[in-house]
Symmetry: C2
Subunit: 431 residues, 2 copies
């Protein structure tokens, strides 16, 4: 009768939890310093909310449940629909731009594989209420600010930036009809993951001829805005889309994130709902799935019953990111073990009550303090102190005398209990 966790979920033992917290603390720190406020939604919603955004197909990828009244609910597979629901409910009261972030726990009923689990955490950064490409630039900057924060350099990761309207203009420019645009976008989105021949076959299947495929590949391979302008010259909407891309790259350059960003029109993104700039973060080795992805989605609030309001943002999951940070050796040594400020030891069992008093006083003063439940000799208690990662041990010799030992250097100094309490048991300021 040994119970097991569900396949594709993780048990967060303390060592795994320290890593999860290290990542989510960095997500929060970077979000706050970029002027974003944290929000969260319930773990489940009425199923309708998800199908309204993504179509009935999504239901199969969800963990569904029913409440007592028989209503269909689902565990959230992403937080964006709830974000739109929450913003729509207070659209007139919230000052714009709305800059919000979240670190939701999400679940998808899919088969687990490397980098994809059934339960994961995803950082979400969104700006609602601005049509300005400056808002897109801010989101990309936040992603870069985080990558730099955790020690990933521009030679290790890059944000690859495309544009939906520009890609649509290019498709129209080479004669792809309106009815085939969505299908063509889906084929283009797969290009990086398949061979040129497979790409050609997929494009033919949706009715594109070889000349069109060659033209769109040339467009996707353009390296800069100037080159893009020439490739799409005259196509409807292309000029404005190029202007926006140019301003985006200039803003990123000015903010100091230019070295992490590459224009790359091969980035299209899978979801139908993007309406502007789109981007994905990749490791430059391209061994892994995308680390993050996002873009502008100006229609979502209206689709979910709200007004037409500009919106842009990205999501970054913890699974692929965790693999990359581990592989690149970016995780600090301090994650390996727990630590304590002080371990309190009695010189002999009769002093146990003084240990309780001292531990209580240290903790109330804000210091991480612990002690052994076993009344053993000092050597054994010191061993336990070391195992627990304590920086200092205080050995109580009598009601009046303590010895303070630095467990890294081994240095030891005696002082009176009064002096010790004054120095170590007075209140540490709260964070």
């Amino acid at each position: 009768m040994a119970f097991q966790g569900v396949k594709g979920t993780r048990d967060f033992y303390p060592d795994v939890m320290r890593l999860r917290n290290w990542i989510s603390d960095a997500w929060r720190r970077v979000s706050l310093r970029n002027g974003f406020e944290e929000y969260d939604s319930p773990i489940f919603e009425y199923l309708d909310l998800f199908t309204a955004k993504s179509g009935q197909e999504i239901a199969e990828q969800l963990f569904s449940l029913t409440d007592r009244g028989g209503r269909n609910l689902a565990i959230r597979p992403e937080i964006t629909p709830a974000l739109a629901r929450m913003v729509n409910a207070r659209i007139n009261a919230l000052p714009r731009p709305i800059k919000w972030f979240s670190v939701p726990r999400l679940c998808r009923a899919e088969n687990p594989q490397k980098g994809r689990l059934r339960e994961f955490f995803q950082w979400n950064i969104d700006i609602i209420g601005s049509d300005d490409v400056l808002a897109d630039a801010e989101c990309v900057f936040v992603a870069v600010d985080f990558l730099r924060e955790v020690g990933l350099s521009p030679t290790e990761v890059q944000v690859r930036i495309g544009s939906r309207p520009l890609t649509v203009a290019a498709l129209r420019g080479c004669g792809v009809g309106d009815d085939a645009i969505d299908k063509a976008l889906a084929v283009l989105d797969k290009r990086a993951k398949i061979s040129d021949q497979e790409f050609l076959d997929a494009a033919r299947k949706i009715g594109m001829d070889d000349a069109q495929v060659q033209a769109i590949m040339r467009f996707q391979d353009c390296a800069g805005v100037a080159e893009l302008r020439r490739a799409v010259a005259g196509a409807e909407g292309a000029g404005e889309a190029c202007d926006k891309l140019e301003r985006l790259m200039a803003c990123l350059q000015a903010m100091g994130a230019g070295d992490y960003c590459t224009l790359d029109l091969r980035v299209v993104r899978g979801l139908a709902y993007y309406t502007g700039v789109v981007y994905e973060v990749f490791d430059t080795g391209q061994d892994l799935r995308a680390i993050a992805g996002g873009g502008r989605y100006d229609n979502l609030l209206a689709v979910l019953g709200g007004p037409q309001v500009g919106a842009t943002g990205f999501g970054m999951g913890d699974v692929v990111l965790g693999i990359l940070l581990e592989e690149r050796g970016k995780l600090p040594e301090t994650l390996k073990a727990a630590s304590l400020d002080v371990f309190v030891i009695d010189d002999r069992p009769e002093l146990a009550e003084l240990v309780f008093q001292t531990v209580g006083a240290l903790r109330r003063a804000g210091r991480a303090a612990d002690f052994s439940y076993k009344r053993q000799n000092v050597g054994k208690q010191l061993k336990e102190a070391n195992k627990r990662g304590a920086r200092q041990a205080v050995i109580i010799k009598s009601a009046d005398l303590v010895a303070l030992k630095d467990l890294a250097t081994g240095e030891q100094a005696e002082m009176s209990m009064t002096e010790f309490q004054e120095k170590y048991c007075s209140l540490v300021p709260k964070p």
Copy 2:
């Protein structure tokens, strides 16, 4: 087509999220300084795990779902079963005592009412691998350490402490048979919530006579260990249970938590699985449900397929606690609004690029910085800075000159851009 959240769940808009984070940050801070390590489990488990602990009845109170293979899963209503599962899986590798904490999101399919929601957060403190009542004392101390941390005084909250073995000994002592003990415990657990007459009726219904009821009420009303010893003199196991209660109270006194703790044998706790000391935290006004509850549960690991190992701990939910903190005015002013370190302003629109540069540099240096998306006059930008809760505004006058304005005092000082960058854009040490 306005979408709504599910009844009994909460939307965490930024103001509500700040409160949630304030509480959970304090839970984490207090846990860590008491030597506990954080863990977490998946949001759902195989249904069996919950029914193995709590019986088939529990299934009705859960949100159930199935995976693609048709297996029955449920969203966790508590984390203790998963804790036992995780510890059992590594029981030989984990050094004891295992001192772990968690702040899980939990769901129960019940009708929402004041203090009870379908989705909530619950702080869990557990010590596994120690039979010593010192471990129980530590858990109670941690609860008290938190109550003090958030500003609740002993006149506002009290931990009421009972003992399952002592109550059982008292029931046996006044002639209640073994087969009626569990039913009697359930009746005793309700005593505080019902009238004396209702209590008497309930006790009669399970076969207790009036003399037994009077005896057990006298026992429950004892105020100290000495009085308890007299009340249960001679009952099997009573002496040992009294010794443990006495040692528990002495440890709590020594650690400096005595003023928050009251011996109260009316506390029995509802769940069948407790085996030792039990306790509940109440507001002294007793207007609310229990703020926290816990005790020793030495059989759970064995019930879930592991060895017989001592275990003790408590849970504290965020809902009742939040109501109490709000009612008693314990929430700090700073929770009311978001804040920023610096808001960056241009003296005229041509300087916008310098704003982007400065904002980027401030954020990379670890400061919370933001700016207006609208290129308006300085007065309007200052208004936005105030609305955003910025402490300082930096007004860029030219590429070489900035004015730094303290938004609380209104004081303003000019300095060169170089000086500003040296002072404010050098790296702030990471926490």
